[in-house]
């Protein structure tokens, strides 16, 4: 199965995207996005629950039930990450990373700990982890949004209270303009 067919979202990602005016872009990028049960438990607002429930019913989102093998791998990732001299990861994001590695899903996250773990832990070598910056860039690259590039990223920051690191954003904008 192609890696870009399925993604798995962590809590921070889903909550942020639920606030974004272009949130359904997510479903143009993946066949379905898995949502772990542990992520669902962290959602409370009517707006987010309604979006998730509607997307589950259309199949754009799918429920991911954590199995013992995924949880065991996730726990070992948490422990490994705590041995590093930088911020570690906690079980919810570790479950997404474990599922991503074991099932070849793209992990979508707004959690910097998850990005660090994916880059540093040998157990996660080859895993595909995308943050919003990359997802939005991909949507722009595929012309799923026609607006000015910078404006789209700015909308996301305003709607979600997110901040893209300046240098990373400029690099992405430079790349996109080069392709346009």
């Amino acid at each position: 199965m192609s890696a870009e067919v399925f993604a798995i979202a962590d809590t921070c990602f889903l909550i942020d995207w639920a606030s974004w005016r272009r949130r359904n872009l997510l479903f143009s990028l993946f066949k379905t996005v898995f949502v772990p049960e542990s992520v669902l438990r962290e959602v409370r607002s009517e707006r987010t629950i309604e979006w998730i429930a509607t997307s589950l019913s259309s199949g754009s989102l799918s429920l991911f039930t954590e199995t013992p093998d995924v949880i065991a791998f996730a726990r070992s990732l948490v422990e490994k990450s705590k041995l590093l001299p930088i911020r570690g990861i906690d079980l919810p994001e570790a479950i997404c990373l474990a599922a991503g590695k074991m099932r070849n899903y793209i992990v979508i996250t707004e959690n910097r700990g998850a990005l660090m773990a994916a880059e540093i832990l040998e157990e996660l070598s080859g895993i595909n982890v995308w943050r919003s910056l990359k997802l939005i860039a991909e949507a722009l690259r595929r012309s799923l949004v026609k607006n000015d590039f910078r404006e789209v990223f700015a909308e996301y920051e305003v709607d979600t209270g997110h901040r893209f690191p300046k240098k990373d954003l400029e690099e992405v904008l430079h790349e996109l303009r080069g392709e346009a």
Partner: protein, 76 residues
């Protein structure tokens, strides 16, 4: 794992922490009940929303709303 990878992430974490400290609405944070206040301060220092939500004893989504009210950017 290479030393330069760790150093790169350490530097990025420090930059993000500085941004959170600078942009946080400290008047709002300091006006909160002790549990919420402690959790928001933890978030400013670490950027770890899950742990902060457990300290605040609220869901991640509820904590995220508090984070936004406190003007703390989620840097990623």
């Amino acid at each position: 794992m290479e030393f330069r990878d760790i150093e790169k992430w350490r530097r990025l974490e420090e930059e993000a922490r500085e941004l959170r400290r600078r942009e946080a609405d400290w008047e709002f944070i300091n006006s909160q009940p002790p549990r919420i206040r402690a959790a928001l301060k933890l978030y400013v220092e670490t950027g770890d929303m899950y742990v902060a939500s457990r300290v605040a004893d609220v869901s991640v989504e509820e904590f995220n709303e508090l984070r936004r009210k406190a003007g703390i950017p989620n840097v990623c």
